[in-house]
Amino acid sequence: MNESLLFLATFILYIISAFYYFSFLFKKRENLAKIGFSFSFAGLFIHTIALVLRTFESGHAPFTNMYESLSFFAWSSILAYVIIEFKYKIRKAGPYFMLIVIALMALASSPLMPKEATPLVPALQSYWLWLHVSVTLLGEAFFAIAFITSIMYLVADSKERKGIKSGLSSGKLDSVSYRCIAVGFPLFTLGGLVFGMVWAYYAWGRFWSWDPKETWSLITWFFFALYLHTRIVMGWKGRRSAYVAIIGFLAALFTYFGVNYLLAGLHSYA
């Protein structure tokens, strides 16, 4: 068994999971969603083994190039989803969320992403690599769920205004979005900003240098800070809150991908 085979198996499990989730959406049989969930859970299990194997094969953390980090982001997203699903039962979000995961996996398997494990460049040889990347991506995974539930909120809300009720009430979607951000925000702050600053201090000799990646993670942080303040202090809820959460996740995505491809900077690994 090698890592790329396990990665493929994981990908297939996620696709099957999405398939069941979507048929649940159309046929409205709870059973199908349960099967979908089991497949995503099985995928998470195999994916975990794949990442562990990758770590042993390469001898370093499994997120040092774009392929690895996409795969790890997909893994954290599923992990976050499993946790949120266990706690809040948001089955209807499953199909849409699986689409994000499949998009990540597809991007990781695209031929544009070099797959071979390369040895670590000097700047990445630090245990802060583990802490900084894993905690940040886990935080962003919760933002991804909030992104999906916020979009679903907007749809559910406009339906409810016309008097159509659907499975997940807009109120519940709004509160799940908030709860995901309440988990994601501290994680992102710790992993992205705090651990990032500590590592930058040891590796580059300064804790902050207004590098585009740094600046964009700060911008992402500002968006979610905005979400929390407008919501808690100004009492925003519902539509306006949902828009801020959506923009926040898009900013996180830009920090993750856009900066690498569009803006040049120090932070040129992944």
Binding site: P122, F185, L193, M197, R206, W210, W216, I219
Partner: protein
């Protein structure tokens, strides 16, 4: 004065500033920073001058961006202080006595009567609340008892911790910017350099580059010795991610390079018509060597690590990295120059040799050796401890704000005709459902008691 205070403590101002700072930060990532004016003009035309005048070209260090941050800091200070005073009063000197209508407006509440005395009910309730780690305050009036039970009071102050943390980080940033310094120092092995503003010197004992088996650089390692009053104090091998700290200074492995002035080059000389002929010579730049068994001398006049011809037709080195190493050589037969020209280590067939006299010889630049230089960044950052302190506050604050929700239970016990009426309500700063279920358990156990 009062309206100014009100202006600065408004959340609307905070949100406005947050949005403006976010937009400004974005702008700075799309317009490259710290380039020369010529580059901006070349790229943006007349806009380049405008960008320069508005300091967008060094946005994050510009006065207006700094002013925005200061305004933001002021806003946070005023907001925090105006909210802190009433919160502290509520935490340490709360009003225990209350009207029953204060409870009736709460979302979590209950009201019932029990056939036991006031004191017994009170004792029972206090026992139950204490066992759930509530801290109690109580006030007694003739036939009434007021109970205020609270736990996780720090949860109220989570946001304040976060804001104080951000302020400390901003202060640290200002101290770093104003009092910090950074300088790249270039060392050859054995060099001793003074550190600006420090009483000690630094010596590079050894510098080595480690490679992976595929040729990628694995690490750069510099052995540094601190020398104070002419005496070596301590030695440390530093590498990327592992700097040396000494007396407030930190020394980082920042870069590396070569000292190309005394490069020695290895040249292979062949004869076109005689395949068995091969002579290998090693020459230091500026010197000459005799070709064995021939009456010919080869001298190396120049070595260029990154050969390129610029638009003015001049030969220059594009960088100090050996990307396209080239040597300028001359061949002499006695006193007569027979040839001269450039040879390239990466393009052996592309030698640009100008022959003065018919010759059968060909030259290849086979290798080159130069002293390696280690570039050490010396840094002093007096603000950095503020940053770590601020980050700690920030994280503790976030933990309190999100995961340490304050719970408050207010109870009025009133005795009339041997019965005790219980009016109770609960307030949670977050996760009301959890308090609801705890509240119900407390009330159930109180109902059951006798």
């Amino acid at each position: 004065m009062k309206s100014l205070l009100k202006f600065f403590c408004s959340v609307k101002l905070a949100i406005f500033l947050l949005i403006i700072i976010t937009l400004a930060s974005m702008l700075g990532t799309f317009i490259p920073q710290h380039r020369s004016l010529d580059e901006y003009v070349a790229h943006y035309g007349q806009w380049g001058n405008l960008f320069n005048r508005l300091q967008i070209t060094k946005l994050y260090q510009s006065l207006w961006f700094l002013a925005l941050l200061c305004l933001f800091a002021l806003n946070i200070i005023v907001c925090t202080l105006t909210r802190l005073a009433p919160k502290l009063r509520k935490a340490f000197h709360p009003k225990v006595e209350m009207e029953s209508k204060e409870i009736s407006v709460l979302k979590i509440k209950e009201k019932f009567k029990k056939n036991i005395s006031l004191d017994k009910t009170n004792k029972e309730l206090k026992r139950e609340l204490s066992s759930r780690h509530y801290r109690l305050k109580e006030a007694k009036r003739e036939n009434k008892i007021f109970l205020l039970a609270r736990k996780r009071i720090l949860g109220w102050f989570g946001a304040d911790f976060v804001h104080i943390g951000i302020l400390i980080i901003l202060v640290g940033g200002i101290i770093s910017g104003a009092g910090g310094f950074r300088k790249d120092l270039t060392f050859s092995e054995g060099d001793i350099r003074g550190i600006p503003g420090a009483e000690f010197k630094l010596r590079l004992d050894k510098f080595e580059t480690e490679y992976y088996s595929n040729g990628m650089v694995k690490d750069w390692k510099s052995t540094l010795t601190v020398i104070e009053n002419e005496k070596p104090i301590l030695s440390k091998v530093i590498e990327v991610n592992h700097p040396l700290s000494y007396k407030g200074f930190v020394f980082y492995q920042s870069s590396y390079g070569w000292n190309w002035t005394n490069t020695s080059v290895g040249i292979w000389v062949r004869k076109r018509k005689d395949p068995s002929f091969l002579r290998k010579i090693d020459v230091t730049v500026g010197e000459r060597a005799r070709l064995e068994s021939e009456n010919i001398h080869i001298s190396v006049l120049h070595f260029i690590p990154d050969f390129v011809i610029n638009e003015r037709n001049e030969i220059i080195s594009r960088s100090l990295q050996p990307n396209n190493p080239a040597a300028f050589i001359e061949g002499w037969e006695g006193d007569e120059k027979i040839m001269s020209g450039w040879i390239f280590s990466k393009f052996p067939d592309f030698a640009r040799i100008h022959s003065e006299k018919e010759t059968d010889l060909s030259f290849e630049l086979k290798n080159f050796k130069a002293d390696q230089l280690s570039v050490i960044q010396a840094a002093k950052d007096p603000g950095v401890n503020f940053i770590w302190a601020g980050c700690t506050f920030l994280m503790i604050g976030l933990a309190f704000a999100f995961y340490w929700p304050t719970r408050e239970i207010k109870v009025i016990l009133e005795e009339s005709q041997g019965k005790t009426e219980i009016i109770a309500g609960g307030i949670a700063s977050k996760s009301r459902e959890a308090l609801q279920s705890e509240f119900e358990k407390i009330m159930t156990s109180l109902r059951r008691s006798r």
